[in-house]
């Protein structure tokens, strides 16, 4: 793994609303390194997208109370003004989004939108920008780029649009690419193409990638590090192998058990009881405690910090490490038994 390129320290993003304060992100710390894909997993409302939008300054500052630090290339992004942040957006730090159908302006040609992205950081003439655009489209696998550059977004398929978005994001050789659910709106075969493309780019340019997704399968396939989020906080954080072969948090267990397995018919799914909490009234103590089958005394009183409790990687659960290992093994055994 390369040197750290993004360090997030105790990030808090709170939105005051008439009903109360929405604690979208509530104390988050993590580091992304060059050359790694960092997977952030969580369900809707876990704060995974807000974290990245905040880093890019895409959350309106006047609508939120933001604290903490986001260090990128020697700057604390949270302290930069919008004007100072602009030269970083799309240059050192670029982002692609979930819905490629909505992310390109429907009235402008795809080529022009990329040319615009090139020209807003580099002062080059239109012709040079155009040639670079054709090169980028070619690099992300769009056939006949010199023709397609004149197309409008609606003339592109979903996969092609996501490729165009990636081309745009790569225009200035960023050191970090944030991909927010980049394949959720796409079909599986197209998803495979896009994931492969992102992985290829990561290796070729040795950049860092943050991959935000709700799909554990995607993370397990392409990420090197994983952070599992619940209600605005990290509940488990480690390398892919650590988290997937020895998960230590009951929420991670629940997520893993909720997914129907494609490799075997499997027995009954074990869903997580209840529903995610309102971010205005997050339960006291551990936010997951009302849904946790293993909760005990301290769970609804003390909030567990994200610590390595001896399991090899940080997690936020009061259970003793022996109990965690035993419980996970039991749950695994139970699952396999039902399945066979």
């Amino acid at each position: 793994m390369g040197e750290p390129i993004l360090e997030v320290k105790d990030l808090k993003v709170h939105f005051p609303t008439p009903d109360g304060v929405v604690k979208a992100v509530d104390g988050l710390t993590f580091t992304v390194h060059r050359g790694e894909t960092f997977g952030i997993v969580g369900e809707s409302g876990s704060g995974k997208s807000v974290t990245c939008l905040t880093a890019l300054g895409l959350i309106k500052r006047e609508s939120a109370q933001i604290s903490g630090e986001v260090l990128f290339e020697g700057h604390d992004l949270l302290k930069l003004s919008n004007e100072d942040l602009r030269p970083i957006r799309g240059k050192g730090l670029s982002m692609i989004f979930q819905d490629p159908f909505a992310c390109l302006h429907p009235f402008y040609r795809v080529g022009d939108q990329i040319i615009e992205a090139i020209q807003c950081h580099d002062s080059c003439d239109k012709n040079e920008a155009k040639n670079r655009t054709i090169g980028l489209l070619d690099a992300v696998g769009i056939p006949q780029p010199d023709d397609r550059i004149r197309d409008y977004p609606h003339q592109f398929s979903g996969g092609m649009r996501q490729r165009a978005m990636i081309a745009m994001a790569l225009a200035h050789n960023p050191s970090l690419l944030i991909a927010d659910e980049p394949t959720t709106a796409l079909d599986v075969t197209v998803q495979a193409q896009i994931l492969e493309l992102i992985d290829h780019i990561k290796q070729e340019f040795n950049i860092g990638v943050i991959l935000i997704t709700h799909d554990l399968g995607v993370v397990a396939d392409v990420a090197q590090s994983v952070m599992v989020m619940y209600a605005g906080r990290a509940v488990e954080y480690g390398s892919r192998d650590e988290v997937f072969s020895g998960p230590l948090h009951p929420y991670t267990w629940g997520l893993l058990e909720s997914i129907p397995n494609i490799d075997r018919k499997g027995g009954r799914l074990v869903p997580i009881e209840g529903a995610p909490p309102s971010l205005i009234r997050v339960p006291t103590g551990c936010a997951f405690n009302p849904r946790c089958p293993h909760r005990f005394d301290p769970c609804d009183k003390d909030r567990p910090e994200l610590l390595d409790r001896g399991g090899g990687h940080p997690e936020a659960c009061h259970l003793r490490i022996e109990d965690k290992k035993r419980l996970w093994n039991e749950r695994e055994a139970g699952r396999v038994e039902v399945a066979s």
Binding site: P143, T189, Q191, L195, H214, G217, P260, I262
Partner: protein, 368 residues
């Protein structure tokens, strides 16, 4: 044009009820579709519009669903799976083909004649936010089928019983849909679909909009209700894991055609159609240590259903066809003739001239 000809004559000799039976296939099928075709015309003209082309949404699809069984219908967006379901329920009229429900031919029934059948077959949709009327209480929503079908008696106790059964608090009878979360709304949808004790429920991507933890709850509910009420499901999804979990038997669609039908385990363990194989290999395995096999990544996009390829619809992207032809284009029969949905191995049907061998690894498809 061999393609035009192929749609006039059935592409399979197997009667629909015998295509890849599951263990639940006993007695008479509940629903059968035979050579079902739906084309949406594209019209042009100054005053008199003439048909210049058509979207080939569903092409010569045949299958049967037996009572108590779940048939999964998978495929990527635009493959015709939702259209198939809507034609099957006669929400849209088929262009040709035959639909049988409980032995009765319902293809040409009009709206009024369809009413008794409507009670027997319900549909559930993907979006739990859009499919519920925001001005109605959930009591009214779930009770609506009783009113529409002019059932006698007090609806409220029946509705509350249903709410209890699908895991909703019956005291919430007078609440509005927006007061519920996505998972609970989908439960409301289930209760509404169940109200008239139908035999068949067609589920169109019913869990796609839900978070994984909630998705598992709803899938379990589907399974429980099937056991309790003896329901038959046609379950449409693009999520291959979900479909495998819930289905007894699975049909795979590509560009309007059913390209493969087999029992769930058989299809996933031993896919015969190269498209199915590619689809399965594209799914992230979500497991560490699983050897990173060379994934068959299909290149290019699905062709337009307005102008589908000749012969086998998959041939322009097919990795197997390229292997067979030795790197030089594709074999002639793939290009010219539509392969019939034939029994490749025991109880496993696929529409392919060169079905995939059990141990075969497909290479990356060449550029279309």
């Amino acid at each position: 044009m061999s393609r035009a000809a192929s749609t006039n004559e059935p592409t399979t000799d197997t009667p629909p009820e015998d295509i890849a039976k599951s263990s639940k296939a006993v007695g008479e099928p509940l629903v059968t579709v035979e050579n079902l075709t739906k084309r949406f015309p594209i019209k042009k003209g100054i005053i008199f519009q003439r048909e210049v082309a058509a979207v080939h949404a569903v092409e010569d699809v045949s299958f049967a669903i037996y009572p108590g069984e779940t048939l999964g219908l998978v495929g990527e967006s635009g493959c015709g799976k939702s259209t198939t379901a809507r034609v099957l329920l006669k929400l849209i009229e088929p262009t040709s083909g035959k639909i049988t429900f409980e032995g009765e031919d319902i293809t040409n029934l009009n709206k009024r004649q369809m009413r008794p059948m409507r009670r027997q077959a319900q549909m559930m949709f993907q979006d739990p936010y859009a499919s519920l009327n925001p001005r109605q209480t959930i009591g009214q929503i779930i009770g609506a089928p009783f009113r529409i079908h002019k059932m006698s008696g007090e609806a409220k106790p029946k509705v509350q019983e249903l709410m209890e059964r699908v895991g909703l608090n019956p005291e919430h009878y007078n609440r509005y849909a927006h007061e519920f979360s996505g998972g609970q709304r989908q439960r409301i949808g289930v209760a509404r679909a169940l109200a008239l004790r139908p035999k068949l429920i067609v589920c169109d991507e019913p869990v796609s909009a839900l978070d994984v933890s909630i998705q598992a709850q709803v899938l379990n509910l589907f399974e429980d209700l099937q056991g309790e009420f003896g329901l038959t499901y046609l379950f449409i999804s693009h999520d291959l894991g979900v479909v495998r979990h819930i289905s007894d038997r699975i049909a795979v669609m590509y560009l309007g055609h059913v390209v493969e039908v087999a029992t769930a385990d058989e299809l996933y363990n031993n896919p015969k159609h190269p498209y199915t194989a590619a689809l399965l290999s594209a799914v992230p395995k979500g497991k560490v240590g699983a050897q990173v096999t060379t994934r068959t990544v299909l290149t290019g996009d699905v062709p337009s259903p307005v102008n589908p390829p000749s012969g086998c619809p998959f041939h322009p992207r097919c990795p197997k066809a390229r292997q067979v032809a030795g790197g030089e284009g594709v074999p002639e029969n793939c290009r010219d003739d539509l392969p019939p949905l034939g029994e490749v191995v025991d109880n496993h049907h696929a529409a392919c001239w060169y079905p995939v061998e059990e141990t075969e690894e497909l290479a990356k498809a060449a550029h279309a």
